[in-house]
């Protein structure tokens, strides 16, 4: 019999050599940790870039010592040029969206915990999984290399709008080699995520252990499954788009450059293409990408809150359906990123409607969380605090989405800091909080040691207050007309806003420094933390029923059998107020989602 019901995963024996064990490993747990390491590195690089930008925005003529060594032409004497500011901004966006928000909650935690949560030994295609990571890692190297090649990275923003992305060096520093490297990097990234999505979907559908029906999957597994369905199709559209950009550069085509474009007093040789075409293609990927970043965090946060609130969700089924609705709607709303692009105004109206509709499943999700928390005796720890923080950020950032969904308001706000504040809160910081929550929650399982709770709580409060201090004022700046993507504010009407920028910059430095506490906690606890029991949070899902850290085949040669819905909290059993999914014990007040 071939792999019909497939405990095929670990036909490969545990590796012994260092390279097979830690570098080119086929083990989903090692690959998950590799993804986490990549995301961690990328996050701190991205944060460093934001520090440079924030400093320049507040004190635009003060030199940043040493910056001239990163780019002599971009920062002569340590003061960055407007172009170099844009280059840093582009890299910040690209690194954060692709290599942090996509890799950490989805690829890293998903790789490590999805197979364990469904009870599998590994993913069905370990080789694809390994390739997925190494292709992604190569993509990161290619992207970073653009700092050191030619005149630096591209300055077009993470969205790489046409025609700037296609006209070559005449568009400014980094628009030649920089864009090509960017496009190569992102095309590679797409390949990596496609391989990952194949694995995730087939793991969820095919490798569930006996008793694990789809409705018994933990919410985190559901969110990874839904996310991989989005990723499968979204990345498949971005990849050809990137290849067409590369063709525009190296083969002389002009898919994205219109005729007769004059740039720096030169008539460009390209002709006939469409700039809007790129925006349609990019945002067709780009909006689903937002949900690729946020949906895994929703699942992770639900998973963590349940373990800490000790009672079931109001309705797990509705929560799953709502996440599914987000995925479906994410393909119908992408045009709300293009209200100011010169798109057909009628399309704006068409896109505005589903954009408002998408707030319904989002609101349902938030309400389920809040009402489930109501009346619970929430256990306060770093993981649950960050989960609450996630909800807070998601709501605060999401509320401004109601405004931005309407073209008439968005046209005024789109090019301002209002939008920057909106997406940083709702997708950037919220997803980061999801990543932190997941880290504090699962760290004991991954490493066998507990993270320091006092340091974790300090990290939470500094990050939580800090994030609001940074991103709430962005909204006020935007309403005051502060344009985004400017490197220096010299206009009269912007002068009164400089103190706000200084405040934000100081807040950014403090909040950023708080992330060093996290880094210290991570590494200190890895080696010196208190030893963790197998189930420190008294949680119910399968990852807590195996050893800590899990053995090579996840369950030590056994196959667990699942008897319960994932979140049996608040029941009376022999072990306390919960029943593990793998425990055959029957309890009276069992909560069943039918």
């Amino acid at each position: 019999m071939h792999d019909m019901s497939a405990p095929v995963a670990h036909q490969h024996a545990p590796p012994t050599s260092f390279i097979r064990k830690y570098v080119f490993s086929l083990d989903h747990k090692v690959i998950g940790k590799q993804y986490y390491g990549l995301a961690l590195l990328a996050a701190y690089v991205g944060m460093g870039l934001s520090w440079l930008m924030r400093f320049h925005l507040a004190w635009n003529s003060t030199a940043i010592p040493g910056l001239q060594f990163l780019s002599a032409s971009g920062a002569p004497g340590g003061v960055m040029t407007p172009e170099y500011y844009l280059q840093l901004m582009t890299m910040h966006g690209t690194i954060m969206v692709f290599f942090v928000l996509t890799t950490a909650p989805f690829a890293a935690f998903g790789n490590y915990f999805l197979p364990i949560q469904v009870g599998a030994e590994d993913m069905p295609f370990p080789r694809f999984n390994m390739m997925s990571f190494w292709v992604t890692f190569t993509a990161f190297l290619v992207l970073m290399s653009s700092f050191f090649v030619g005149d630096g990275p591209t300055l077009g923003g993470w969205t790489q709008y046409a025609p700037l992305n296609a006209i070559g060096s005449v568009g400014g520093p980094g628009q030649g080699t920089g864009v090509v490297l960017w496009a190569v990097s992102i095309a590679l990234f797409c390949v990596g995520q496609l391989l990952g999505a194949l694995n995730f979907i087939s793991t969820t559908l095919d490798l569930r252990v006996k008793g694990m029906s789809m409705m018994r999957l933990p919410l985190s597994a559901w969110s990874w499954f839904i996310t991989s369905c989005i990723g499968l199709t979204a990345f498949a559209v971005l990849m050809p788009a990137c290849i067409l950009v590369i063709l525009d550069h190296v083969a002389g085509t002009s898919f994205f450059v219109a005729s007769g474009l004059v740039m720096n007093d030169q008539v460009l040789p390209h002709s006939g293409g469409s700039t809007l075409l790129w925006q349609h293609l990019f945002w067709f990927f780009g909006h689903p990408e937002v949900y690729i970043a946020i949906v895994p965090s929703m699942g992770i946060v639900s998973h963590i809150l349940l373990a800490n609130q000790r009672k079931p969700m109001l309705s797990q089924r509705v929560l799953i359906y709502s996440m599914g609705a987000l995925a479906v709607l994410s393909y119908m709303v992408y045009g709300h990123h293009m209200f100011v692009s010169g798109m057909n105004p009628f399309s704006s109206l068409v896109f505005s409607f589903p954009t408002l509709v998408i707030t319904i499943p989002s609101t349902i999700i938030v309400l389920i969380w809040t009402f489930s928390l109501y009346g619970s005796k929430l256990r306060i720890n770093s993981a649950s605090l960050f989960s609450l923080g996630f909800i807070s950020m998601f709501v605060s950032g999401g509320v401004s989405g109601f405004f931005l969904a309407q073209p008439s308001i968005d046209i005024m706000l789109h090019a301002t800091y209002f939008v920057v504040g909106h997406f940083h809160l709702v997708m950037g910081v919220a997803a980061m909080f999801g990543i932190f929550a997941g880290t504090y929650f699962w760290f004991p399982k991954i490493t066998g040691r507990m993270m320091s709770e006092p340091l974790g709580k300090l990290h939470f409060w500094l990050s939580f207050v800090g994030a609001y201090c940074i991103f709430m004022p962005f909204h006020y700046l935007g309403m005051a007309g502060n344009v985004r993507r400017y490197s220096t504010f010299v206009d009269d009407f912007l002068q009164p806003l400089i103190p706000v920028h200084k405040f934000i910059t100081i807040a950014a430095f403090v909040t950023g420094a708080a992330q060093l506490i996290f880094l210290y906690n991570l590494f200190y606890s890895r080696f010196k933390g208190a030893p963790a029991p197998d189930n420190p949070w008294e949680a119910t899902s399968l990852e807590w029923s195996t050893a800590t850290p899990p053995p090579f085949d996840n369950f030590g040669g056994k196959h667990p059998i699942v008897y319960h819905d994932p979140y049996q909290y608040g029941v009376k059993s022999s072990v306390g107020d919960y029943v593990m999914q793998t425990s055959p014990e029957q309890v009276e007040t069992e909560f069943e989602e039918k």
């Binding site: 019901s5 405990p7 069905p124 490798l207 006996k210 008793g211 067409l244 083969a251 075409l277 349609h280």
Partner: protein, 206 residues
């Protein structure tokens, strides 16, 4: 897989629930790949349609349908031979399955050669990725991108057919693998059913 193996899956010897759609994971993965690849081709065709819509005098340079008709016939026939190969593999007739897989690969090679010859003809007439004698350079760009993407798929398919065929004969791969490759090959055929009308027939000069 045999009937006995299939029923075993539904009863309790396996530790797993069983695959969601009662197909092997590999087959599911191939279907997922096909869904993703559909989006890739669809994006390219949307690009082509978008640009064609937006260009006032889109060139219509093709005079003859003979070549593309022959290519279509060959590709469709190769799908049929693939089906026969898959059926033979299912029935355990290794020699026949190998033979028909190879016939499919040969038909694929003929298709690719005809395609390359057609490209050469167009290039000789002065058509490149960025210019052509008939009008907007976008014509060459979209023609070569779409047919090039399809040709890449055909060539990968030929290589896969040869590899899988030989390894199936040698016993390393089984009937499932042949069937899964068959899915890919039919998909390449399916894409061609949209490439022909959109890229060739709509650009036929009257």
């Amino acid at each position: 897989m045999s009937q006995a193996e299939l029923t075993m899956d539904e009863h309790s010897t396996s530790p797993m629930v069983g695959t969601a759609f009662s197909i092997p994971s590999k087959k599911l993965a191939m279907w997922l790949f096909i869904i993703a690849d559909t989006m890739t081709f669809a994006a390219c065709l949307v690009v082509y349609g978008f640009l064609r819509n937006g260009t006032a005098n889109w060139p219509r340079p093709f005079h003859s349908i003979t070549n593309v008709a022959i290519m279509t016939f060959i590709l469709l026939t190769s799908s049929l031979t693939m089906l026969i190969g898959v059926r033979s593999a299912r029935l355990g007739d290794k020699a026949s399955a190998f033979r028909w897989t190879m016939v499919t690969a040969v038909l694929g090679i003929v298709f690719a050669l005809l395609h390359i010859r057609e490209w050469q003809g167009l290039i000789a007439e002065g058509m490149t990725l960025f210019k052509n004698p008939w009008g907007t350079g976008l014509f060459g760009a979209s023609f070569f991108s779409i047919t090039g993407l399809h040709l890449t798929h055909v060539v990968s398919g030929i290589i896969a057919l040869l590899v899988v065929g030989v390894r199936y004969k040698g016993g390393r791969y089984n009937a499932d693998d042949v069937e899964i490759l068959g899915l890919y090959w039919h998909f390449v055929d399916l894409v061609w059913m949209f490439v022909v009308p959109l890229v060739y027939l709509l650009n036929l000069s009257h």
